[in-house]
Each structure stands twice: as C-alpha cells, then as structure tokens.
C-alpha cells in the first residue's frame, strides 16, 4: 500500500507530533528508536520531510526535529504525497498509463470507490488525531 519509506515517514511524524509541549525537539536517535527504524535511513527520510516543509530541524546541541504547523491541520495525505507521490491517489489499479473515466481499466469503477475511500481517510485524518491516540496509550508505534 505505502512504501516502507512512507511508513517510516508517517510513524516519525506521528512520534514527533506526540511529544508533549508543542515545539519540543527530538533527535534522530530518539525518533528511530521510538519507531523502530534504521537510523541512517531514517535520517534521509527526515531530510525529505524537512524539504517538504512538513518537519523542521535545528542543528547543534539540543537540536533535532520539530513540527512548526498546528498538528491539527496536518493530514496524513500530505505525508504520503510528499514521500510516495500521488500515484496512490490517482493511479490505475492495473497499471494503465492514466486512470480515466474515458478509457477505464476493467476494475476502474470498483477500484475508484476504494481508492477514494483511502484518499478521504488520509485527507481527513490529522496528525493530531493519531498522535493523541498514541498519547493516551490506545495505539502503538512499534512491535
């Protein structure tokens, strides 16, 4: 469904969003430990997220990553889009070059419903929603 990179990205964003105190920073080591991901690879992903402006960073002692925007207004769809692009939102299930009503693949209509369901879910689920569930202990970021 999502690339492994994208899964790490979502988990990392949720972890940072779940930290107490709005603009607390957390470092690469903390993050990759918290989400159980390879450190060096996670570093690359966090860089991508910073470039996409979903995450911000600070170098030096007490540096780390933090979220600038209100997590209530950051949706999972933005993270997925930043990492995996929008093929998941618009691509053809069977690999046709372009998904369209005019030239649909055999599963287009049924698949579109599912894809739109997924898109809707991602576009309406905020980082705050999911981070809260981690904070109250009703959901988990690893194992």
């Amino acid at each position: 469904m999502f690339s492994k990179t994208c899964k790490y990205a979502i988990n990392a964003m949720i972890y940072v969003a779940s930290l107490p105190g709005g603009n607390e920073r957390s470092g690469l080591k903390d993050i990759s430990k918290a989400i159980n991901s390879p450190e060096a690879f996670t570093a690359k992903i966090l860089q991508q997220l910073v470039k996409s402006d979903l995450l911000h960073s600070m170098k030096g002692p007490n540096g780390g990553f933090y979220i600038h925007r209100d997590t209530h207004q950051i949706f999972l769809s933005e993270i997925v889009q930043a990492i995996d692009g929008d093929l998941i939102f618009t691509g053809c299930a069977l690999g046709l070059e372009k998904c369209s009503e005019d030239h649909p693949c055999p599963v287009h209509h049924k698949f579109k419903a599912v894809r739109d369901h997924l898109t809707g879910m991602l576009m309406t689920t905020s980082l705050k929603d999911v981070a809260d569930s981690v904070n109250v202990g009703s959901s988990f970021l690893k194992i």
Copy 2:
C-alpha cells in the same frame, strides 16, 4: 497498491477469460501483446498462475494458456493472493509486524475500514464480471 507482477497477472487472467469460447487457448505472445507486458517476464508470471491452479497450460503446437474453472467463480482476490500474498488483506498500514485489535497502530481503525473495502471488492469481483466489460468494449486492458 499491487505489485507490477500482480497487475500483469490480473490483466493476463482477464485477457484469457475474455476470449470467446470457454476453453480457447492463447499463447504467451498473444497475451503479452494484449496486455502490453514484457514477454519473458510475463512467461514467469503465467508459470506462477499455472502453479497456483488459476491457469492451465498446454505445450506444443496450438498449445497455450487457458482457464479451466468457471470464470464466474474465480475472484480477483485469488489472483492477488497467489501473486502478492495476503499482506494486502491483513498487513498493517504502518508496518507493525502484525495488525491486531489488541496492539493497533495509530491508523488501524480507519485503515481497516479501507482495507476491508478493498478486500470485499476483490472477493466479490469475478473474472467474468471484468472480462465481460472488456468484451463489450466498456473497459480496456492497455494504454
């Protein structure tokens, strides 16, 4: 969503199912031309489908691939399962080792709904359904 291999597999199965006359055989070349896939790679995929008993084959002149079972009773889910396994039906969206209610990831509940939607769609859409739409010209297998 599906691996490229799986997309080719679904397309190939649809193409064979769409041939007139129940047990008509069609060869590798026809199939890969019809679905616009690399021939040698498609051969491997067809082999997998034969091993999975979704497709049957005959060597020699006038040989080729054909479907034994009633296409009305073959569902897309079987093809996806045969090629991509069942991670798509049961795997965790965020990569937790195991998707479960007891130890859910932060998107578990919302994702489960989407995943079940997809699963339901695949389990209720038969090869006949989609092959018919190709035959009446209302859907397409390539470009």
